[in-house]
Each structure stands twice: as C-alpha cells, then as structure tokens.
Amino acid sequence: EAEVAQSPRYKITEKSQAVAFWCDPISGHATLYWYRQILGQGPELLVQFQDESVVDDSQLPKDRFSAERLKGVDSTLKIQPAELGDSAMYLCASSLGNTRDTQYFGPGTRLTVL
C-alpha cells in the first residue's frame, strides 16, 4: 500500500538554527498538506498545496516558516530561525484533491528545539 514518506523522523536543534523537513506524497495525489501537532492537541493546518500552488497558508508563520512544492510532487517545510515554541510534531498528508477525499498522513517529524 502506498504511503506518505517523511524525513527525518526526529530532529533536535538549537534555538535560532534552521531546520528543514521533507515530504513525498502518495503518487498521483494533487493536494499536499503540512500540519503541526502540539502535544495534547489535534493537528493544525499550516499550508496546503494544490499541485505546486499554495491554496491556504493562513496559519503559516511566514516570518520564519516557508514551504515549497516546486514540481508539484514532493515538498519541503523550512523553519528559520527555530524557536522553543516550534517544538511539535510536523505531519504531512496528501489526497487526490476533492474535499471529501481521505487525507493520508505520513509518520511525521518530531522536532525538539533546545
């Protein structure tokens, strides 16, 4: 069964450093999502791509976060500089592209900022 791939699985960094996360969605999935999940809370959407275009980035802290999906396939989420409050699980998901379609989630990247 096809899965969403994410790397790294764990990342420890110091405050003010730059970090990057990578996501490879299920082949053929036009829509890609990045979520942040803080411990004890549900996932919160950071950015959504339809092919290579950003559809929604209203919750993305644009002063320090950036995301790209250059060829409409895999995607990178970057944080620069990282802050203590960025410690969380970063989840990537993909779907075919209809609002009723199931979103398939990857294993996530656990970020710890020291």
Binding site: Q41, P43, L45, V55, L91, T102
Partner: protein, 112 residues
C-alpha cells in the same frame, strides 16, 4: 472558523466494554465529517467518514458513527472494544473547502 470539540480527553475501559466518544462542531452549514485514529507508534489513519445520506456510517474494525445534524454532533461508537483499540482518536470536520479542523483528540486505553 470551524471549531471541533471532543468531550473526553482520556477514556479508560476494560475489554468487551462499549465505547462512545463525543464530537461536536460549530458550523451549521454543510459539513464533511471524519474520525481518524492513531495507534501507538503508527501514523494517523482514517476510521470512517460521512458526507451525506444515512446518518449512521460504518467504518473499519467495527466502529460506527452517528451524525445528528440538530445537535451538531458526530459521535463514534463501538459495541465491544478490544485491547488493540487502544489509540488516540480524532474527530475532524471540513465545510466544503479542503481545510480539516481537528479536535484535540481522545486517548482511549483498553485494559485486558
């Protein structure tokens, strides 16, 4: 913005007991409703979803959920839980756009 409330933060029950997890959402228009589950060490996966039609929807592993429009609710049920149902359960809603709003999740612990 859509908000999703899950009533219980942590539920502990014994095998064979019945399970019901509450979920309420804030938007009164047309919504798509989902329950996702995260088993220990695994990623989030879909348990069931509802768009229209019969308000009682069945999902995987014996789970079902009932949509009650008048109560803005989409409660998850299972008549008899197993130890393997130990997991975190998330209710999620979207309102016609792609953006899913998740509840805070309910941790379910099933004791053997």
């Amino acid at each position: 913005a859509q908000s999703v409330s899950q009533h219980n933060h942590h539920v502990i029950l014994s095998e064979a007991a019945s399970l019901e997890l509450g979920c309420n959402y804030s938007y009164g228009g047309t919504v798509n409703l989902f329950w996702y589950v995260q088993y220990p060490g695994q990623h989030l996966q879909l348990l069931l979803k509802y768009f229209s039609g019969d308000p009682l929807v069945k999902g995987i592993k014996g789970f079902e959920a009932e949509f009650i429009k008048s109560k803005f609710s989409f409660n998850l049920r299972k008549p008899s839980v197993q130890w393997s149902d130990t997991a975190e359960y998330f209710c999620a809603v979207n309102q016609g756009d792609y953006k899913l709003s998740f509840g805070a999740g309910t941790t379910v612990t099933v004791r053997a």
